[in-house]
Assembly symmetry: C2
Homo-oligomer: 383 residues x 2
């Protein structure tokens, strides 16, 4: 299963909006075939592994098939993988967790068992979920999985008071940040960042065949036509303003303009208008977005956190103190620590001179874990 997970990780940038899956066929403690999900519309991992097996002159009799996700049982863009597996007849299939896609959700397991193949489930489910949190989130919560990338000094400043922020963290941290952009479906920023820095928000420091879509939250639809973030394919502008003429101009360029209701719960008197962040996230999930990479300023960061639209923080911390400067997230002033949203650290890794801290909201993760286990009512019914 570790090898299958590694294959799935190797496909992190590739198959969006499909999940990344790895598959390894083993007989007598030897790998006789292996594969990973290809680009959307092409083969799934199971078929790739079976093809690899055949190309090596092997067959599946007596073999165990390790897959990081339940094989699909439905006709999507490709025929069901379970048909191919049943045709190949491995002795046993082991997969990490159930496919939360309601078209599968246990049916893959049932089809295999009905065909007389031994099936075991639940090996390395947590590691497998970490490879596809967005796919599971979209299927089970109708929301993408959202991480917020922040680069800051040790005292939590993302830039100097005058806005200077290049370069607090070093090249290794920057490259890792681009790895996270590359695995996402959508890179999301705000009009404030666009105006201040005019960033491209594309993937540069790692090699990828697929660029994520770029999205800008722009309540007043103020973005300039020549903003760098709008170049490339599939840019999205989320706005609370109607401007039919500008929207039509953008549509001609392939830019999607999405009208999102304004946030009625936002505190009065705030400096900037807010759109309904949850509605925006639902729109993204409805439009095949598994993972959202947020890279924005403190205002938007705070708004997304307050709307409970963030699942994980990805904080790159440089070993310096800046004293005064820009904060990570604008949040309402608190008078006591009880009730503060607590994250949990899941990983701390050094990147060059910097440290990356990953922290996620435990309850969000547990919810996703539950959804890929048998305890889910839908799955119980399927079995």
């Amino acid at each position: 299963m570790r090898q299958a997970l590694a294959l799935a990780e190797g496909a992190l940038y590739v198959p969006s909006p499909n999940p990344r899956v790895g598959c390894v066929l083993v007989r007598d403690a030897k790998v006789i075939g292996a594969g990973a999900t290809q680009r959307v519309g092409s083969h799934h991992a199971e078929v790739m592994a079976l093809k690899d097996m055949a190309a090596r002159g092997n067959d599946a009799s007596g073999a165990t098939m390790y897959i990081t996700l339940e094989p699909c049982s439905h006709h999507g863009r490709t025929p069901p993988c379970v048909d191919a597996i049943i045709a190949a007849r491995p002795t046993r299939v082991v997969f990490a967790h159930f496919d939360p896609n309601p078209s599968v959700a246990g049916r893959g397991m049932r089809r295999l068992r009905e065909a007389g193949i031994v099936v075991d489930v639940g090996i390395c489910a947590d590691e497998a979920l970490a490879i596809n949190p967005g796919f599971v989130s979209r299927m089970t919560r109708a929301l993408p999985y959202v991480w917020m990338k922040i680069a800051a000094s040790l005292d939590g400043k993302t830039g100097l008071t005058n806005g200077v922020s290049q370069w607090i963290t070093g090249p290794e941290a920057r490259a890792d940040g681009h790895h996270w952009r590359a695995r996402s479906c959508v890179v999301l920023t705000g009009i404030g960042t666009v105006r201040a820095d005019n960033p491209k928000m594309n993937v540069r420091h790692v090699v990828t065949a697929r660029q994520p879509r770029r999205a800008v939250i722009d309540p007043g639809f103020e973005i300039n036509d020549d903003a760098a973030v709008l170049s490339g394919e599939g840019a999205i502008v989320f706005t609370g303003d109607q401007n039919a003429e500008k929207a039509a101009r953008f549509a001609d360029r392939g830019i999607t303009v999405v009208n999102v209701p304004e946030d009625s719960s936002a505190p009065a008197g705030q400096a900037r208008r807010r759109i309904d962040m949850r509605a925006m996230m639902r729109w993204l999930a409805e439009h095949d977005t598994n993972e959202v990479h947020v890279e924005a300023g403190s205002g938007l960061n705070g708004a997304l956190l307050q709307a409970d639209c963030v699942d994980e923080l990805l904080v790159y911390m440089a070993p310096m103190l800046l004293g005064e400067g820009l904060s990570m997230a604008q949040l309402p002033s608190l008078t006591k620590l009880e009730g503060v949203q607590r994250f949990e650290f899941t990983d701390v890794t050094r990147f060059g001179a910097d440290v990356r801290l990953r922290a996620r909201i435990a309850s969000h993760w547990q919810e996703l874990m539950q959804k890929i286990h048998l305890t889910q009512p839908g799955l119980d019914k399927a079995l």
Copy 2:
């Protein structure tokens, strides 16, 4: 040598102001004697190890003696260790680094070599320095080694705007913080913290036979007679104000009141008066202070950093974002990132739900490393 380092670490709380030293005698790959420095005035590690060897019925012939520090060659509170070693006649002595004490500084090695004992130096010097940075600093820079302990949220807030700071970090981080207090000679805080929290600043969550001295920076000599930090033995108040009557009252209670000049370089118009931090640190080094543990608010933290009086940061970070709140250190506003004091991360460790980041000033550390190597002019002369 790893065993000797572990023995020295086991004595971290004990021998102040002596260095912590570990010593292991090995023959035929077997440990035949081991020891660590005892309380000041009692035996050094070498003598402890030789006594242990004798108690086990062994002698030193054919043995190698591993010591984390060059053995002393001078009469201090105890007779020179080299005499005891020469009397025991191990075949070889290996020590991690030279003793920066000008009374030793290579003379220990020379005495052993003159007695026909093979001597090797420099094994694990970095690890050994990490056990005694304060002793080396005091001997070579006439300054203590200073670390600043900060507990904060992920966005660098040490408390809420209203001052609430208990408990941002959890019990494991708190206990580790007390470990660092316990190994220090002096726990240093400011009058602002004393007024706000009236902390004891003693060691509680770990077991120690020795309490560090507590010191308060109090430029206006405003501290209350009943401040908790003044209880216990050996409290120190650093002040820029003369108040003979109050000073006499404190002296009667065993509290040392030290007059330090005010800092003439401090920026005008600042809210609080400042004493000369470097002068204070020199006083501490002159009074047998190896290691200083700073636990203070953002004002004092900033002043110490600006005066280049901090060698290391010890930051406990809790997985939460507070938005607004108290900052780690008040520093002058910057307009560019060039020239910012950069630390280097040396260790990242998880403590319960929190993470501890250690970051030191690389140039300070390199200076100390140089001083315990042969490149030091004084040592060259001695050899």
